[in-house]
Amino acid sequence: MPVQCSSCGQNRAALKRPKTGHSLCRSCFFWAFEEEVHHTIVSGRLFSRGETVGIGASGGKDSTVLAHVLKVLNERYDYGLKLLLLSVDEGITGYRDDSLETVKRNQQQYDLPLKIVSYEELYGWTMDAIVKQVGLKNNCTFCGVFRRQALDRGAMMLNVDKICTGHNADDVAETVLMNVLRGDIARLRRCTAISTASDGEGAIPRCKPLKYAYEKEIVLYAYFKKLDYFSTECIYSPNAYRGHARTFLKDLEAVRPSAIMDVIHSGENLSVREGVKMPVQGTCSRCGYISSQALGLPKLGIGKHHRLHGKILAQQPLTQEEERKLKAVDF
């Protein structure tokens, strides 16, 4: 009854790979998973020798697996990278404080330096304080904007050349779908890019070495390797739109396992007709935040965050309409 590993033929298979349908034993799976990430890194030219690479570490499964695999590959293939863990403390009691404990253990386990930057020290407020004022709407979006910037700031403090994040294939597919649904071509392009060059003052190049890794495999890699990770959903309102996109994709995947990769490839291959107006990224001169501005549209998108950030920084409550305006931002 037990299925044998289709690769070595020796051991009992431990999983069926969603990507290939192959049945692999644990050690063949570990090897295949790591080699695929290596292939992604090499073919995408994600790193150069001598670089300092900050791994965006949340304590969750993706970034924990990313940190582990990068450390393994850096040694196995002598990338010559200096790796460190970079975490953001948004100030969410009962969620981020717990997950940061996990990151601190990872620091020990993987013997990597760790830097934690907090909203409190950077901006003077915590998410707890914001939620108290604003309530539970759109916090993810709001928080994501500031997390992105906080990672950049932390990386700058440590002279990091590149930041890599644990976004996996499922995440990228979700984001493709969301950007299609919103008609956001500019973000659609950016979200499928495996790496983004530094665009603007204060932004550090980013890459996603797990872009082609399926969530199922990441979870099983972490589980079989007994990696120490934190799995609780953020206590502040999850992004409902993303939740629907995710459920939809998972349902599709159940019928057609290649759905995730198909959506990513669709996103990568979409081209924009000549003459279609493309929003450009700009850097806010007042707070340094990178924002998208609609080019050629009369003032429509321009005020998106500018009118708000004075209020935000002053910790004033936002109206519902203002919250809605903050909605369309990067994940």
Binding site: R12, E215, S231
Partner: protein, 96 residues
């Protein structure tokens, strides 16, 4: 039969139905996975069963391991549970 539910399997969207692990004793006729899921649904998931089950199987995004092997290798719902089996549910749905 030992059943273990990873953290977060029954959580999400505010549901706090908690389940850690439990021992399970069933005489014959032995159950298959389908019956186990139905039992869990009725007995453990009073609040929001849709977070765990969808139709008569687990919600997409929840991984099932039987004796540390992917249940997709074991016949999924048709798998006949045996004494000493170890069933683990892991959610992939949150935590990055």
């Amino acid at each position: 039969i030992r059943v273990h539910c990873g953290r977060g399997v029954f959580r999400g969207g505010g549901s706090q139905t908690s389940c850690d692990s439990f021992e399970f004793h069933r005489g014959e006729p032995s159950w298959d996975m389908k019956q186990l899921l139905a039992w869990i649904r009725v007995n453990l998931l009073k609040e929001r069963p849709e977070l765990f089950v969808q139709g008569d199987t687990v919600r997409p995004g929840i991984l099932v391991l039987i004796n540390d092997a992917d249940w997709e290798l074991m016949g999924e719902l048709e798998y006949q549970l045996q004494d000493q089996d170890n069933v683990v549910f892991i959610s992939t749905l949150h935590g990055g």
